[in-house]
Symmetry: C2
Amino acid sequence: MRYSKIPNETVRRLPVYLRGLALMSRQGLSSVSSSKLADFVSVNPWQIRKDFSYFGDFGTRGVGYNIENLARQIKKILKLDTTRKTALVGVGNLGSAIMAYTGFGTYGFQITAAFDNDPAKIGRKMNDVAIESISMLDTLGKRQVDMAIIAVPEQAAQDVANALVRAGIKGILNFSPRRIVVPKKIKVITIDIATDLARLPYYIP
Amino acid sequence: MRYSKIPNETVRRLPVYLRGLALMSRQGLSSVSSSKLADFVSVNPWQIRKDFSYFGDFGTRGVGYNIENLARQIKKILKLDTTRKTALVGVGNLGSAIMAYTGFGTYGFQITAAFDNDPAKIGRKMNDVAIESISMLDTLGKRQVDMAIIAVPEQAAQDVANALVRAGIKGILNFSPRRIVVPKKIKVITIDIATDLARLPYYIP
């Protein structure tokens, strides 16, 4: 089932709810009210209820949400209910940090391929993944990898994006501050850590 | 002037608009319609108009927004109209990537202090900032630094947060997947790159 009318903003919040639910589950909780979940993930309670209303009603009045069930539903909506193979391009400081990051498991992601153009890095293993030459990007299509993370310097980002598109990659998480241009059918999410930092001063007295 | 009734979601989008405006300005544009800006930053046009409606009307009918003026207004609202000194704690792979990140300038941020507990790193310079021992965190209060970025391993995050609170830090950008607990008056924004990656599959056919 495809929920084509979910606003992008709701899609953006669903993983945040999922992460909160995973943390609560690890704390031994089995159910949660929308107001408690709201507080936990710092979203308004009415926003959570509105977001969930796109999919029917997940909760039981007076009892709240069953954490395990809600997490499963959200994973299904986000198509996170299977393991997702992801490629990483660029194994510099940022790429290495991404490789070492333990938080992907919550969402079923697995980085199964890593690429760099530095001969000193090619062939080395990181987290059991051998770093390949960037010239091997075009083999990704045959390896059931349909998502990629770009963590290369700004000036290389567009070339890498072009190569990923040629290889049949359908979704890109772009950490380069450069805006990359790809065909409309390819989904790009750009992460700029400065935009997150930029929210802080507003809240500081 | 303090706009105390701006929803968190609007505050989250304002830096995204600002970033889009900065990119457009660099492309030589001087004005933009809400629909063009919306398309550029991948937000609904009605959402942008609603977000701006909290501050009065920025645009001129038929002409759109003056980019420079709009950027200045948003900076003022977000209290980004002065240079903001920020500390970085943890200069591992992620911290080094943050230090090297060129995107902070758009928002007036300056990383003026960096800390690590690795004796091999302490005293070394990165981007003209000498790395200090983590035991020096309590000097931050006297150095006009009121924001900090936590980029330490998960198990050290809470101790670092405690030290930052003692030093008088008022806002924290937390990259550790661990939920850190601080007094209510301290604002914490947690970045989990996996939650951004988790949105991608939804858009992939």
